[in-house]
Amino acid sequence: MTLNFLELKGLHKKFGDITALNNVSLNVSKGEVIFIIGPSGCGKSTLLRAVNWLTPPDKGEVWLEGDIVGSLSSKLTIEESKLLNSFRAKMGMVFQQFNVWPHLNALENVVRAQMVVAKRNKAESEVKALKILDEVGLSDKINEWPDNLSGGQKQRLAIARSLAMDPILMLLDEPTSALDPELVGEVLSVLRRLVNNGMTMLIVTHELGFASKFGDRIVFMDGGEIIEEGIPEKILKTPKTQRLKMFLEKLNITSFKQ
C-alpha cells in the first residue's frame, strides 16, 4: 500500500435538506494537478472547503501526508485548533472573490500571515513577500492598496499571499471566474508556473482548455458526488455518463455564445 499525499475518505456534507457532498472520496498524489468541474451547486466549493476544514464535513476524513486534518467535534480544543491552523497554512486557498485584505497594502497582505502564523520576523517576511510578489508580476505594486488593483492583480496578490506560507498544496476555487476575459490570462500564467514547479493543486474551473492542457486528471461532480474522473483526454473527449455529456455540451454552447 502506498501512502497517498492527500486522501479524502467518504466526505458527507448536508446544508439542511441540501446534500452538498455525498460520499466523496479522492486520492491525490504529490505533484498532481486535478481539475474539478461540474454544474453550479454540485458541491465543488464545498469539497475544496472540506479539504482545509473551512467547511467541516458531517462525516468523513481528510488525510494530508499521513496525518488526519481536522476533527469532527464541533468545538475544537486549543490544541486541535492550533494543529488545524498548521494544516491550513500548508494548504493555500484561492477564492473566486480574491478576498485580499483591503486595509493592508499589497506588501502587507503578503507579510501579515507570515508574521502571525509562520512566526517570521518582519524583515524576513518582507524579503520573502517581495520575492513572491515579483514572481507573480506585482513588484511595481507593492505599496498599492487593493482597492486600486485590477481583478487580475488582486487575484495574483491573493495567490502570492498563499504562496508566502510555503504551501504543499493549493486549493483554487474558480480563480478566474470573477475576472474580465482580458484579465484571465495573467492569472492562468501564474498558475502555469505553479504547475511547472510541481505544486499539487485542486482547481475548480470552467476553463476546460486550461484544464485539458495542464490537468493530470479531471474530476466531474454532480449532485454532491464524483460521477466520473480520469485523464483530461478521456473525460473531455469520451465522456461515459449522460450527465457529463450534457454538462460538456452546455458548456460548449455557452462558451460558443461568448
Binding site: N52, L54, S81, N85, S86, F87, R88, A89, M91, G92, M93, F95, Q97, F98, N99, V100, W101, P102, H103, R112, A113, V116, V117, W145, D147, N148, A158, R161, S162, M165, L171
Partner: protein
C-alpha cells in the same frame, strides 16, 4: 438686565477647568465603552451562544429604553449597596460607559456586517484564527467602516457628561452652575458654557472628516 461680558471673562478660567474634566470623563468613558463594545461584538460572533446574545439584547434595549439621567442616578445609588463606594467621578464614568457601550455595540454590528465573510475565510485558510484574526484582519476593517457613527457617538457622550452634574461631578456644567449661583448671572455664564460645549463638539466632528479623508487618501 444687560449682558455683561466681564462676567464671562471672570468665569472663563474656571469654565476651562471644568471643560477639561468634561473631556477627561468623555474620553475615559468612551474608551472604556469601545473596549466593552468590542469585547461584546467579538464574543457575540465567536461564542455564537443564544444565552449570551439574549443577555446582550436585553442590555441594549434597557439602555436604549430608559433615560440616561435615571441610569446615572441608579448607578450612583446602587453601587454603594454592593459595598462599592466609588464616588461621583467613577460612578459617572461607569454610567457613561455602560450607556455608550450599548450604542457602540450597535454601531460595531453594522461595521462588522460590512466586512465580507470572505475576509474571515481568507484569514482562516492561511491559519490565522482567534485573537490574531480579530486584531489584525477583522477589527481594523470594522472600525474603519464605523468611523462616522463612532465620532458621532463620541459627541453624544461629550454632551451627555453634562448630566453628571446631578451627581456632583465637577465637570463643565457643574462648574457653570456653581459660578452663576454665586454671581446671579446665569445668562452670561451659560452662554459661555454653551459656546465651549459647541466648540468641543465641533472640533470632534471635524476630526471625523479629517480621519476619514486620511484613510481614503491612504487608499486612493
Amino acid at each position: 438686565m444687560k449682558f455683561d461680558i466681564s462676567y464671562i471673562i471672570d468665569a472663563l478660567p474656571r469654565l476651562f477647568e471644568g471643560a477639561l474634566i468634561t473631556l477627561q470623563v468623555a474620553i475615559l468613558g468612551f474608551c472604556l465603552s469601545l473596549i466593552l463594545a468590542t469585547t461584546i461584538t467579538i464574543a457575540r460572533t465567536s461564542l455564537n451562544s443564544k444565552i449570551f446574545n439574549t443577555i446582550i439584547a436585553f442590555y441594549i434595549s434597557f439602555i436604549r429604553g430608559t433615560p440616561l439621567l435615571v441610569q446615572i442616578f441608579l448607578i450612583y445609588y446602587v453601587l454603594p449597596v454592593f459595598g462599592l463606594n466609588l464616588g461621583p467621578f467613577s460612578s459617572g464614568i461607569i454610567a457613561i460607559t455602560l450607556n455608550s457601550a450599548a450604542f457602540v455595540t450597535e454601531i460595531l454590528r453594522g461595521g462588522l456586517a460590512s466586512v465580507p465573510n470572505g475576509q474571515f475565510e481568507a484569514a482562516k485558510s492561511l491559519g490565522v484564527s482567534g485573537v490574531a484574526l480579530w486584531r489584525k484582519i477583522i477589527l481594523p476593517q470594522t472600525f474603519i467602516a464605523s468611523i462616522p457613527p463612532l465620532v458621532n457617538e463620541f459627541t453624544m457622550v461629550l454632551k451627555a457628561t453634562a448630566l453628571l452634574s446631578v451627581i456632583t461631578v465637577v465637570e463643565l456644567m457643574r462648574v457653570s452652575q456653581q459660578i452663576y449661583s454665586a454671581n446671579y448671572h446665569p445668562v452670561e455664564v451659560l452662554s459661555a458654557t454653551f459656546v465651549i460645549y459647541f466648540l468641543m463638539c465641533f472640533v470632534v466632528s471635524r476630526s471625523s472628516a479629517i480621519l476619514e479623508n486620511k484613510l481614503k487618501v491612504k487608499r486612493a
